[in-house]
């Protein structure tokens, strides 16, 4: 499990998230949009769930993340 911390200094508060089962830290105040940018994920045809609640695509910018949030980011893959 890797910690891809953006801000690891003692002075900057960080959010500890679990994203698709992996630990990840972001600066406090980060939004869902900030998380997707940090991960380098294209927004096309993905869906984001925060603590079991869907985050609509239109609300990525204004949805702030909280410490301890459980995030799932999914997309479509081949299946029968």
């Amino acid at each position: 499990m890797t910690d891809t911390s953006l801000a690891g200094t003692r002075t900057a508060p960080t959010l500890r998230l679990t994203v698709n089962g992996e630990a990840l830290s972001l600066p406090a105040g980060a939004s869902v949009a900030g998380l997707l940018d940090h991960l380098g994920l294209p927004r096309r045809k993905i869906a984001v769930e925060r603590n079991l609640e869907i985050v609509p695509r239109s609300l990525y910018d204004e949805t702030s993340l909280g410490d301890g949030d459980q995030i799932e980011i999914v997309h479509f893959i081949g299946g029968g």
Partner: protein
């Protein structure tokens, strides 16, 4: 009989019209290129897809939708891997957000080795999804009582298995498939079990509205050619059903006139 009467005007599910009566899965191919080529050869307009976590370590990995564009094909998100109603509803809510549509394939499976539909959990999930405005095409047992109940609940298509998923055993209970079709007012699709073209044709000859298959194409030696075979099989089976087969008889009935023979 002229060419016009030989047209098949397709089938309708939840108000959406499809000309192709073949629905194909997008799983189990060697590559996304092979997936795309096979699906194109199948002539299918609707494809099933799974919902899974994005690979965070490789965010720019090729994506299914780059090869099988959702602008060209109707994506039918499935609930593969879900063993409870809660998991199925959660998965399809995510699918709706990712894809923006509410036509879905519900499958709640029992354990290996048969992955047989768990009908108690399927009923529970269907009720929850219908209450949440999903249009549910439901994978189910070849059980006419269960099929009728799913229809009465509001499922938009009934999809009994021909045989267990990925088994390639064909339509092993044709009598019940025919019974389910005979009583249904919504489309009936044989989903799972088809292994080769004759079996897809047979499912259509039973009167089914369409066939859903995946492994029969993906696990063929030449998937693209098998996809083409399936396309033609489904068309042939539909025509054979509409044409109405001749009666069976164990005795011979000469095809040539029995009069006017030379002496």
């Amino acid at each position: 009989m002229n060419a016009t009467t030989l047209e098949d005007d397709g089938w309708t599910v939840a108000g959406r019209r499809f000309r192709s009566r073949l629905v194909v899965g997008t799983g189990r191919y060697k590559s996304l290129e092979e997936t795309a080529a096979s699906i194109a050869a199948s002539g299918a307009e609707m494809v099933t897809v799974a919902v899974r976590r994005v690979n965070l370590s490789d965010p720019n990995a090729p994506m299914l939708q780059d090869f099988v564009p959702p602008t060209q094909y109707t994506y039918l998100p499935n609930t593969a891997g879900c063993h409870t109603a809660q998991d199925a509803v959660r998965t399809l809510r995510l699918a709706r957000e990712a894809g923006g549509w509410n036509l879905v394939k519900l499958e709640v499976l029992g354990p290996p080795p048969f992955l047989y539909p768990d009908m108690a959990a399927t009923f529970e999930a269907a009720a929850a999804l219908i209450a949440d405005n999903f249009e549910v095409m439901v994978y189910c047992a070849d059980d006419p009582v269960a099929a009728k109940r799913l229809e009465e609940m509001g499922c938009v298509a009934i999809m009994p298995l021909g045989a267990p998923i990925g088994s390639g055993m064909g339509v092993v209970n044709p009598y019940m498939i025919r019974a389910i079709k005979a009583q249904a007012k919504v489309p009936v699709l044989v989903d799972a079990g088809i292994g080769t073209a004759s079996e897809a044709a047979f499912a259509m000859e039973l009167g089914c509205d369409a066939v859903l298959l995946n492994s029969a194409i993906a696990h063929a030696q030449d998937p693209v050619r098998m996809a083409a075979a399936m396309k033609h099989a489904v068309i042939a089976g539909r025509h054979a059903y509409l044409a109405g087969r001749m009666p069976r008889d164990y005795r011979a009935d000469p095809s040539s006139p029995t009069t006017g023979t030379i002496r």
